[in-house]
């Protein structure tokens, strides 16, 4: 919504996962404390990165793109240097599984679902029921008018980046126990995330939610329908995204932004 294409977004997700791993497994803090520190620490780092790296080049979209790619790669190499290429495991926050209609669902996955729903509700509340949300939406709608109306657009952009990185960090903390933590874990969700956002339509929460469901189901159906082509699930999802964009270039629920004056 800040109209910043932040390629380092999923790199912050990776950093949160590493931070959570270190605090929980290495230092021995509890789940909640580790999660809280990991999320807050990652958000603080993202704000620093915004001030030092993104803000100075914000006017130039290509420069932002390249700067955030560089940031992500720096984070990746730093993690490789610090932790090596080893794959690290984090214990589940909730152990066990429940059987539903013959399908076994681990409690950790249900926790992810609950946290995702809570985060969606929180984001909706912030965007639609707070002054900050109003400012974020106004800035997204027309940056220059928002500026002329007296809004500190830089501060709003920084708050938007912090909010979005907080979501990535929460994802890193709750999803890491299901996957493995490694320096390259940011790459796969980056492609999926971009596909979801573009498919759903830039700036649309409803679009992102429906885009995520579409991409998720397409990936699962690909595995069931073509088991030997399971590795193609990402490609099939991206192909559907391209097909949708050919018909609706703004995505399924895209918000038409005002052209820059």
């Amino acid at each position: 919504m800040a109209r910043i294409v932040n390629i380092a977004h999923t790199a912050f997700y990776m950093l949160a996962a590493y931070c959570f791993y270190t605090l929980l497994v290495k230092v021995g803090l509890g789940f909640l404390t580790s999660a809280l520190i990991a999320v807050l620490g990652t958000v603080a780092l993202s704000m620093l990165c915004y001030r030092l790296v993104i803000e100075p080049v914000r006017e130039h979209e290509a420069a932002v793109l390249i700067a955030t790619i560089a940031l992500a790669l720096i984070f990746q190499e730093l993690m490789l240097l610090s932790f090596g290429g080893n794959y690290l495991g984090i214990p589940s926050t909730l152990e066990g599984a429940v059987r539903f209609l013959g399908v076994s669902i681990p409690y950790q996955r249900l926790l992810i679902l609950v946290v995702a729903a809570a985060m969606l509700a929180l984001v909706w509340f912030v965007l639609h029921r707070t002054r900050l949300g109003l400012a974020v939406r106004a800035t997204a709608n027309d940056l220059e008018v928002a500026n002329l109306m007296g809004m500190n657009v830089h501060r709003v952009a920084m708050a938007t980046v912090a909010l979005s990185v907080a979501l990535a960090a929460v994802a890193g903390v709750v999803v890491a126990p299901v996957f493995v933590v490694d320096p390259f874990m940011w790459l796969a969700p980056l492609v999926t995330m971009l596909a979801i956002v573009v498919l759903g339509g830039l700036g649309s929460m409803k679009g992102s939610l429906i885009g995520a469901l579409v991409i998720g189901y397409v990936e699962a159906i690909t595995v069931f329908a073509v088991p030997a082509g399971a590795y193609l699930k990402g490609a099939v999802a991206l192909a559907i995204m391209v097909a949708v964009l050919l018909v609706r270039p703004e995505g399924l629920f895209g918000v038409a932004f005002e052209e820059e004056r």
Binding site: S104, V180, A188, Y231
Partner: protein, 405 residues
């Protein structure tokens, strides 16, 4: 002025003398990753052992082993790997090359090594093409030997041999005539021949193949694949995995309480860190392996214990750089020369008792496959420990366990 000239001359002489006194071996591996770490550890153990005993006897002259650590970064980049080989040959003046891991990268590294006629002892890559090159163009590729593991086709022979014994156990325990097998192979060049062989051989072994699933090697979520396998009633998940997907499979099978047992190649499952990475969920995951405290050769147990004492972990198969250096030492001493052209025929004809295998080489310079000699071992994760269970003829093997139904 004169004193400076004399000092410079002495320095040059000393440097030349020192250079003559060492055999430079480049250890090629992805050093930021476990595979490269074990490449290096195995090589260090061999170097220290040889140098401590006085070095290599080259026609009466004692030469020390000098290792060059070459990070190929091959898991991420094949060009990085070929650049590393080029660098150690041209800049570091390596005499021999040892290591490599990812087949796609080693095929490219092999080309560079052969351009320079450097003896290259492979420790890590399984693709058949590496050996087929020797057969198709001997003069160019004769400097390549595969010390570990056996080539992919022979890995398949071991897999099916173990699969046969697991199948028998399932027939007996679950009272079923035709065990159901789901093939789960990452999409990579090294699994192609294995998947084709499994699809053909398993029905001949009176096993039903319920499907073949091929996720990406870097997939982190295999929920859909495992769900489909459960629905297909799989009792054995036949794995061919070298990437992090191996951890996801182990962990997610445990989380789902799957009744099927995983057997096959799971490179991540060979590492000591696997249990932690899978958050302790990978109970009964089994994999082909090389090292355990069993008497594969008289050298295995002492090597594994020394390795554990020094590095505080079990060796993985890339630690066979130790065997590669010991093989080099043996043939150099026999030839009384470091000339690669004189060493090649000696490696071709010799039998080398290593720490993980008793090696002889065929016309492709691949290991001659034999159970109890080069076929390796099978291990299963049981309560956080890697328990060896095959071949049963080797002393120290323990029973294979099935998840409770």
């Amino acid at each position: 002025m004169i004193r400076s000239a004399i000092l410079a001359g002495l320095f040059a002489f000393a440097t030349a003398a020192l250079a003559q006194g060492t055999i430079k071996i480049a250890i090629l591996g992805p050093m930021a990753f476990v595979q490269g770490e074990h490449h290096w550890n195995g090589a260090e153990m061999a170097r220290d052992e040889i140098n401590k005993a006085g070095g290599v006897n080259v026609g009466g002259r004692r030469m020390q082993i000098e290792l060059i650590r070459a990070d190929t970064n091959e898991i991420q980049s094949v060009p990085d790997a070929t650049n590393a080989v080029e660098r150690v040959i041209t800049r570091d003046k390596a005499d021999y090359l040892i290591g490599g891991f990812r087949s796609e990268a080693v095929l490219a590294m092999q080309e560079v090594a052969m351009d320079y006629k450097k003896l290259f002892l492979g420790v890590g890559a399984a693709h058949s093409k590496l050996g087929a090159n020797v057969e198709s163009n001997y003069d160019r590729y004769k400097y390549w030997f595969r010390v570990s593991p056996t080539k992919d086709v022979d890995l398949a022979r071991t897999l099916f041999a173990v699969m046969g014994s697991i199948g028998e156990q399932i027939r007996r325990d679950l009272k079923t005539e035709q065990p159901k097998v789901a093939i789960l192979a990452e999409k990579a060049v090294w699994t192609e021949a294995l998947v084709a062989a499994a699809q053909k051989t398993l029905p001949a072994m009176k096993m039903e193949v319920v499907g073949t699933w091929q996720p990406s090697a870097v997939a982190t979520d295999v929920t859909a694949e495992l769900s489909a396998m459960e629905r297909a009633g799989a009792q054995i998940v036949f794995t061919m995995l070298s990437g992090p997907v191996g951890i996801s499979v182990g962990r997610q099978m445990g989380e789902r309480n799957m009744k099927a047992v995983a057997w096959g190649i799971n490179v991540e499952g060979q590492k000591e860190e696997f249990w932690q990475a899978a958050a302790g969920k990978a109970q009964f995951v089994s994999t082909l392996d090389t090292y355990s405290e069993v008497e594969m050769t008289p050298k295995t147990v002492p090597f594994v214990r020394a390795y554990q004492a020094r590095f505080k972990k079990y060796p993985t198969y890339t630690a066979a750089t130790y065997d590669a250096i010991m093989t080099l030492k043996e043939v150099i001493e026999k030839a009384g020369s470091t000339d690669a052209d004189k060493l090649v025929p000696l490696i071709e004809k010799g039998e080398f008792v290593g720490t993980g295998a008793t090696a002889t080489f065929d016309k492709r310079h691949d290991l001659v496959w034999a159970v109890g000699k080069t076929a390796g071992i099978a291990v299963q994760w049981q309560d956080g420990k890697k328990v060896p269970f095959w071949p049963p003829s080797v002393k120290g093997m323990q029973p294979f366990k099935m998840p409770k139904s």
